[in-house]
Assembly symmetry: C2
Homo-oligomer: 903 residues x 2
Amino acid sequence: MAKGSKVSTKEKKYVYKFGGNKADGKAEMKNLLGGKGANLAEMSNLGIPVPAGFTITTEMCTVYYKMNRNYPKELNAQIKAGIEHIEKVMGAEFGSEDNPLLVSVRSGARISMPGMMDTVLNLGLNDKTVLGLAEQSGNERFAWDAYRRFVQMYGDVVLDLKPKSKTDIDPFEEIMDEVKKEAGVKLDVELGVDELKELVKRFKAAIKERKGIDFPEDPWKQLWGAIEAVFGSWNGERAIKYRNINKIPHDWGTAVNVQSMVYGNMGDDSGTGVAFTRNPATGERKFYGEYLINAQGEDVVAGIRTPEPVNHSTKSSPDQQTLEDIMPAAYKTLENIYKKLENHYRDMQDIEFTIQKGKLWMLQTRTGKRTAAAALRIAVDMVKEKLIDERTAVLRISPDQLDQLLHPMFDPKAEKEVIAKGLPASPGAAAGQAVFHADEAEAWAADGKKVILIRIETSPEDIGGMNAAQGILTARGGMTSHAAVVARGMGKCCVAGCGEINISYKEKQFEVKGTVIKEGDWISLDGSTGQVMKGQVATIQPELSGNFGTVMKWADKYRTMGVRTNADTPKDSQVARDFGAEGIGLCRTEHMFFEGDRIKAVREMILSDDLAGRKKALAKLLPMQKGDFVGIFKAMKGLPVTIRLLDPPLHEFVPHEEAQQKEMADEMGVSLDKIKQKIASLHEFNPMLGHRGCRLGIIFPEITEMQARAIMEAACELKKQGVNVKPEIMVPLVGEVGELKNQEQLIRKVAEETIKKTKTKVAYMVGTMIEIPRAALTADKIAEVAEFFSFGTNDLTQMTMGLSRDDAGKFLPAYVEMGIYKADPFQVLDQTGVGQLVEMGVKKGRSARKDLKCGICGEHGGEPSSVEFCYRAGLNYVSCSPYRVPIARLAAAQAALKGKKQK
Amino acid sequence: MAKGSKVSTKEKKYVYKFGGNKADGKAEMKNLLGGKGANLAEMSNLGIPVPAGFTITTEMCTVYYKMNRNYPKELNAQIKAGIEHIEKVMGAEFGSEDNPLLVSVRSGARISMPGMMDTVLNLGLNDKTVLGLAEQSGNERFAWDAYRRFVQMYGDVVLDLKPKSKTDIDPFEEIMDEVKKEAGVKLDVELGVDELKELVKRFKAAIKERKGIDFPEDPWKQLWGAIEAVFGSWNGERAIKYRNINKIPHDWGTAVNVQSMVYGNMGDDSGTGVAFTRNPATGERKFYGEYLINAQGEDVVAGIRTPEPVNHSTKSSPDQQTLEDIMPAAYKTLENIYKKLENHYRDMQDIEFTIQKGKLWMLQTRTGKRTAAAALRIAVDMVKEKLIDERTAVLRISPDQLDQLLHPMFDPKAEKEVIAKGLPASPGAAAGQAVFHADEAEAWAADGKKVILIRIETSPEDIGGMNAAQGILTARGGMTSHAAVVARGMGKCCVAGCGEINISYKEKQFEVKGTVIKEGDWISLDGSTGQVMKGQVATIQPELSGNFGTVMKWADKYRTMGVRTNADTPKDSQVARDFGAEGIGLCRTEHMFFEGDRIKAVREMILSDDLAGRKKALAKLLPMQKGDFVGIFKAMKGLPVTIRLLDPPLHEFVPHEEAQQKEMADEMGVSLDKIKQKIASLHEFNPMLGHRGCRLGIIFPEITEMQARAIMEAACELKKQGVNVKPEIMVPLVGEVGELKNQEQLIRKVAEETIKKTKTKVAYMVGTMIEIPRAALTADKIAEVAEFFSFGTNDLTQMTMGLSRDDAGKFLPAYVEMGIYKADPFQVLDQTGVGQLVEMGVKKGRSARKDLKCGICGEHGGEPSSVEFCYRAGLNYVSCSPYRVPIARLAAAQAALKGKKQK
């Protein structure tokens, strides 16, 4: 309990005060106070000038919803005490007509949800206090402007008059237009004191008319209304959608921060800004920020005016007026504070400040979002600077974010028709068809199209569309605008503030220097240069920086779980090795069946009515399969290679369109009828649960025999040439040990024959996929035969959850949106259900075979939270697609480091 | 250890002696000695005349296979001791030229596998001992006939010269034909001593020629060869197939019985027979049997000569010569023995005997197979006779067999064209298309046809065809012939020994009194009267006997688990109640959607693009659904009714043929294109795992709302009329508690609305199916919302085993045949895998909700071994199709009684 608090020790503490160089809370209390509240407390404790305030805890939010949107009775006294605290520190009085205390009421969740929840500013103003403010500030216009803003915001947010859809009209905007018209002015700033007073009057009348209530003059009533609105906005539609996209639990709740107002719009000796302690795009160790003179903080974030750089170290034209130039003293203070903050937090900070009549106030500090490249550079630099150690550096990088670096970028040699240039707000290369509305972006993307969302500026309503788009282009707003911040968070390419383009929402097009881009036209965005290009520009694989290598080296140092790759070709194998794969965890042999002439032999086999015919066709496939394995073994240079025997049902190898069937008939020299008959006989109602996997090899042992022979002949041949090989032959879709026993005996028979024939000794293993629930349930029996397990979590998810990946589109997105599923279980492993079977499989398997090697080869093997789960479940390795290998390496290292921490 | 045994106490005992009124073994040792061996020992102990012998244990068979077809060294001495024992008791010497001991070598598994394994008779004969036998028997012809039979049998069985397929020629039959031709005779019995000697010579030459070895003259060598052949026949193809059909574990092994020969073919004072202590078809308490004078035992079973009844109490013509008439003394002894045996075993016995020169020898006794009707009658009679108690009576009835009684029989009023009459060998009514070969029966049945297999006589090779057929008709053989015994075991209708029909395998037809029945023609068989009818005769529901009622009453007395039914209509509900169902465990609402006009409304709903359209269509369905529930609730008179909400994917309600789509388009007044488009949009790759179950109700809550309203309106309406109702609303396909919560809230909302509106109090429950593996894995969470669980083991099996029931045909039969699966998991619950999830579901569910009601509604609910599992798993009830309700009641009673025994 903080000293001097009036709160009884028996009562639950819901209110935490800060300001005046001390605070009840601290940075570590983020879960309780939200990110903003915890950091305001921390800054207060550090002696940094923060407008005094208090935080109502996130716990209160949960209690509020549990109590059916009511508050526990002790809250009232605690809030009163909080206001008294502000009054004391700021030397003003809440509701006073002479020296009024005005406050802001803001949300603050554990994790920042920019723009998703409601805020009320200038609270405490009424017909009387406005006069006090006017006198105190010596600026009547300022006071009345603040008042009219407050009434509007209160009406919109607390009284719910904000338009719900685009066709609705905001009553306040309507009045604003009327008054401006009557005054004969165009801009808000041109309105005089009388017009502002008129606005307040008419706003209040509109409230009375629409809601049947008077605008509350009582500041306490205003305060309770605003608190309620902020808590309520936690469950607003937009906020829920944002949490679903960003996988934030719905039961975390938000805190509410009530804080004394300070004003950046009190004149030219005032201003407001946002800055990063290092460059968030590149990671360069340079103080980097933007500010607006005579403006409120919201103006910077909303991107309504394009701000100026705080100093010249930011890429800027020499003629721009920096904060350093204009207000050197305030800038100096800011510099000292940012250094103090970075040293304290030992991480790059994203800060907000306001200068009120020359005095600097800090409004917020938080860990700054950054691009993957910046994250790597900052981590490596900070280790060099001895701010953090290697372990911390490894834990600092978001594995998901690495993806940005591993995917193609524009080919510098490609021809580019650059039509415009904006701010490089979020790096990456994106090409897509132009769309001009967020909902259209979502609809087009749902149809499988790639789109670029183009907006004058973005707003929280556009989140869904931004998520669906390949990239975002805006005409207004800076590097810290909504579009830029959100895009960076999503790891999505964004070019912001591209003022030269003229967007017409009505025509669904933009025009720039005579070029018109209409809806559906292809454009390309380079988020690292800010270039906007016509058409679809070619991409190449990016070169990885030294920082990447350094961090990955550290990761490997602390990592204990292996990382393999899923690769079916020598080329993929090579890419994966370059990314650090330590073997192949899944080589799918069926992909090899489609290449060139092979499909003909495969079809010949399928069409055969007898064993002899099938064997003849398989004999043609043998040398080709063998060649594939030679290539892959060579590429993997002695690393283990897990080869899965034929898995898909045979109908996947025959054409389903009549024209192609005719072609096949001609090619094979049989009648179309025979082809059709065969294809019909292969039809399955539920192919996922049909005649596939080892069920093929059991009914047609000649297929398994051919594949085992191809693998072992390739292995023996290379071994003879001195190339080390470690084949691990994997039987798919085993649900009962008898199936594996059947196939294992056949494989071993062929393997021993080949070894004997070639007089070479090749060590090989025989194991199985665990992808049917029953396999996990009977893993102890299966492990008596299997030398290794590989959890095929794609199919295991489908069967455990009764969910066909191909068919889930009709309900899965809705499930995630409704919160029935926390995430798409095909992307993020369902640890509760499917995970139980993985854990059971490992445990039971090792109960029968102590040294059983266990891995995972579903797509979850490259998803960080799933990798962490695999570590906890005791897997020996994860296997993922080549491009995700670094992500898995990093995630595995983090899992190991976190695991150590738990001990 | 038996007294006087030479076997060291340190050695494993593999040989158990019997005969001479004492034995090493006893009846309880059936698992070790096989059924035959254990009962021979028991009879010896009872002082019944049994030819002396010894049994090599089933354990030896297992060891033999484990040792790669070798024997442990101690076996030799034990067998020597066994032969010495026989010599001593029978007063003959193995290999003696004067007084030779001849033995039979027979298989004897735990469970009888008639004709499936090999037998060698007359072993011990050679060129020298045959002379001793001739002198001793005073019948040179008999001795040489025995010798030539032995050489042939030894060649066939031990030296493997038996033809493997129908086109192969038996070398011995060929020689036999030659010699008969040379002698100018037609029948075997017409051959004289010289010809028989010639046969032996030529048979031996054939063996030398074909196998390159001499026929072994050494009796010990003969004996080891025969033992090896019997053990080898355990893994013969036929035996494996039989075990698969009859679900006999492959690792049980067979025992080998070596026993002194006795001869029923030593002249007219000798004979052999088979009898039942009660009538195996009706259960009537009358000694019932058949014999052949001057014949070997195999002749009766093989059905080569049609035997005579042992007495006149068997249905027989007065002019038939019974055993009682011809050999009254032997018959009297037999009568005393059968009574002794039945009193001892307290069950109906199936006995084999041989009379050698007037002396009666018992060769076998075992529990007799019987029809379901006989089983009931015997059980009830034996309780009356105080031979057994009610509990034993209940345990005596095979629940599976009850099926025979519960299925339709021929309508006595139906017109019948009786074309022939045979023996009523196995009861039941069967109609099918005539086929004349077992493999054709299998092929036709695989095509979904119903067939009657017609054979002159059946042999073990025909097992597969018999199993596939609806019924079996033979021209030769009695009530104890192969066809009759096997058919009764299968619970399949059989008319045997129908001598008047003339079968031509070549023409694939039979002719009787001018009527010709060709392959494919329909015939009907009445297994209870022996009638053979032309065409397909109408059937009716059989009336159940008083014995049935008595046994079911006893069953219910000892049963603790409930039995419900799966019924979707008032009619089915009534049938089930008549069979004793205690509620409905599964009422599938989708079946109601297809009736009459409803399908139109359903399709209208599916075609609607918006909520309003769907609601309009659903409003049409509401009164119809409500009517269904009124009917079902009324039929169930206050018993609980579990109603499952709509489950199948919507595409099941639209036509897939263009013609019907056109019809639908016309009917609905929309374009064919629109219909096609909609149907295409509904297509799913794996509908089993697609948009169905609660996923429909979550995306289209209006469907759930309509169904909940229909259920509750029906319930409230009836309640008002004074009818008691217990609706249990079941949400299908839940895999995550969030899904259930969503639907439960909606259902409760509608229910409370309806209750309020109608001002009636109806108690209802909301629960869920557990049919997705994840539901079982997270049952503790689901039980927080669900008031009851119903395990849908059909789908649970499909998902847990990754096995689509519709598509498994390509490999499932092979899996069962290969022994990979012990049984079809859709018929017999896979206790190892799926069962784990059921147990987990119950346990976890009850951990969250102590009084959670758990049931099963998959088809396993009527399968006895699965019912027993459900009892052990702690389910409150099983639910099955109406006709299986009595089976489930009996199985549940047996489970409870066995459960008690385990304590």
